[in-house]
């Protein structure tokens, strides 16, 4: 029994290391600069890590702008996903209406398709309406990626809020809208915030559509992808590290909701 326990603990620790160590190593690569990247053999301790290496990366032409673009795109995606997803989720949770099954199917289909690939024809459409190579255009495509999650998650959120609370508010003279704003929304707000952050992460990490739909207004992922083959290694590691940090922090912020979200939204 003791040997089994030891095996079990070893397994847990090994899997923790499996996740943590690679992140530590890219951080090391990102902060050790040009000299560190070519050193051989490498030390696994942060001997020559400096902030200067990261600073150099941030001063490279285009990096700062690309990072800013990524934030703008992800912010817009977050906004659109909630604005479209929350009403849809509320409708799915509180009403039974004709066409509901078809609507649900549309949402599930959107999620089951390799959506980023649709960026190809969208290029032509976007050029026509002036959305090509704009942050707004990329944000719209990313919203299509994030919307199914936002809708299904907020529908399960609203289902978890008892209808009686809302009805009580109507009895006391609230209109449907007032009841929603004063009773339902405050209860749903933390969950909606988690949904929004999840949309942010989806957008921040998306590569293909962002790379196809932009030329000058690149997001960080699109920028890194296009300069990948000609950029030095320490530059790539700094970029990779910069991509990882915000989304890891965001996942930490919403960790409580991840499971509730997936458990229900997948049925």
């Amino acid at each position: 029994m003791n040997a089994r326990r030891l095996l079990y603990i070893t397994g847990v620790v090994a899997l923790i290391a499996w996740i943590i160590v690679p992140i530590y190593l890219i951080a090391l690569g990102a902060f050790s600069g040009r000299a560190g990247v070519f050193r051989w053999p490498k030390s696994l301790w942060p001997g020559d890590a400096t902030f200067a290496a990261m600073q150099v990366f941030l001063q490279v032409e285009g990096v700062w702008k690309a990072a800013l673009n990524s934030v703008i795109v992800a912010g817009l995606c977050m906004l659109f996903s909630v604005l479209l997803g929350a009403p849809a989720g509320y409708a799915l949770a509180r009403f039974s209406f004709r066409g509901q099954t078809a609507y649900r199917l549309l949402i599930v289909l959107t999620r089951a398709f390799p959506l980023a690939i649709l960026a190809l024809p969208l290029t032509v459409n976007f050029i026509r309406v002036g959305l090509y190579d704009t942050t707004l255009g990329v944000a719209l495509v990313h919203t299509a990626l994030a919307f199914p999650f936002a809708a299904l998650v907020s529908s399960s959120l609203f289902m978890g809020i008892p209808r009686e609370l809302e009805e009580a508010a109507w009895v006391f003279g609230c209109s449907r809208f007032q009841a929603f704003m004063k009773v339902v929304l405050p209860l749903a707000l933390p969950g909606l915030a988690a949904t929004a952050i999840f949309a942010f992460v989806i957008s921040w990490n998306e590569v293909f559509a962002a790379a196809v739909l932009t030329v000058r207004e690149r997001t960080l992922t699109a920028y890194l992808l296009t300069v990948l083959s000609e950029s030095p290694l320490h530059f790539r590691f700094a970029g990779g590290f910069l991509l990882i940090v915000p989304s890891v922090l965001f996942i930490f912020a919403v960790r409580k909701y991840l499971f509730a979200m997936w458990g229900i939204s997948n049925r």
Partner: protein
């Protein structure tokens, strides 16, 4: 109240319009672009796609990657989920660490593993210290397709097992404890309980995890590109190259159609294979 009958439609209308413009219309357009050439219906783009040197290779590579990565991920995620069930202390912390890759993009994951596997990287430094290699060795080059493949598999497993884990942990939470307790009373061992109770009740979660992961796995691109450039061609990478470098929308659209058909076929297959009767659901 006519108001409340109209309300659900008003609520879903914006998203229907949005999905129409950003999903249905481009979907139809992709099909049109792929199947027309110089104004008429034709399979020319598909012929050109199939005739390309990289086509067979990228198709084979993508399938190989999916076939190796998905089973390993499901197995690993199941093991992790079972371990979490048994953990008494620090469960939340372990869970958070294990789900960190959820926020890591495929491009970043590729770069993380590039830092480890490049010729002067950390893996080689460790191997050198152990005396296993004589100097910098390039594992990710064109001449070493096997090690490049292993590198991509490692990066994919590292990055995308977390989403399977999250879905499975959520599924575990829905299995009533009494089932396991009852089986224990009747003398079922841990392994029997896992096979006869946990696994069947987990089927719906396994199904959604498989569908989501497989669809995303057929889209694999940035991880591969970051690690091996075009040394390991995959389907989406080819679509990207045809679009970006060759400026050929038709062939790119043909690739898109192919990927969609494969993803859809995989989804339908899973739905068929893992069908659960309503009365056996937890």
């Amino acid at each position: 109240m006519t108001n409340s009958r109209l309300l659900p439609y008003l609520l879903v209308a914006p998203s229907v319009v949005f999905l129409g413009l950003l999903f249905v219309v481009p979907l139809v357009q992709t099909i049109v672009i792929a199947f027309t050439d110089q104004g008429g219906a034709s399979l020319a783009h598909f012929r050109k796609m199939a005739g390309d040197l990289n086509f067979g290779l990228s198709l084979r590579n993508t399938f190989l990657l999916v076939a190796v990565v998905i089973p390993l991920q499901i197995g690993l995620a199941l093991a992790m989920a079972v371990m979490l069930q048994k953990l008494e202390k620090g469960r939340d912390l372990v869970l958070w660490i294990w789900t960190i890759p959820l926020g890591v993009s495929d491009l970043a994951a590729g770069l993380v593993w590039l830092a480890i596997l490049q010729d002067r990287g950390y893996l080689n430094s460790a191997l050198f210290a152990l005396g296993l290699i004589d100097g910098p060795t390039n594992w990710l080059s064109y001449e070493n397709p096997t090690t490049l493949f292993i590198g991509i598999v490692l990066a994919e497993i590292w990055r995308a097992t977390a989403i399977v884990l999250v879905i499975l942990v959520a599924g575990f939470q829905l299995i009533p404890k009494e089932y396991n307790e009852a089986a224990e009373v009747f003398g079922a061992t841990g392994w029997t309980r896992f096979r006869k109770i946990t696994l069947p009740l987990l089927k719906p979660s396994l199904q959604s995890a498989l569908i989501l992961r497989t669809v995303l796995a057929f889209e694999v691109f940035a991880v591969v590109y970051a690690l091996g450039g075009r040394n390991y061609p995959v389907l989406v990478g080819e679509a990207y190259t045809w679009m970006r470098d060759s400026q050929n929308d038709g062939v790119a659209a043909a690739y898109a159609i192919l990927i969609m058909v494969i993803s859809l076929a995989a989804t339908l297959l899973y739905i068929r294979l893992l069908r659960t009767k309503p009365e056996t659901q937890a």
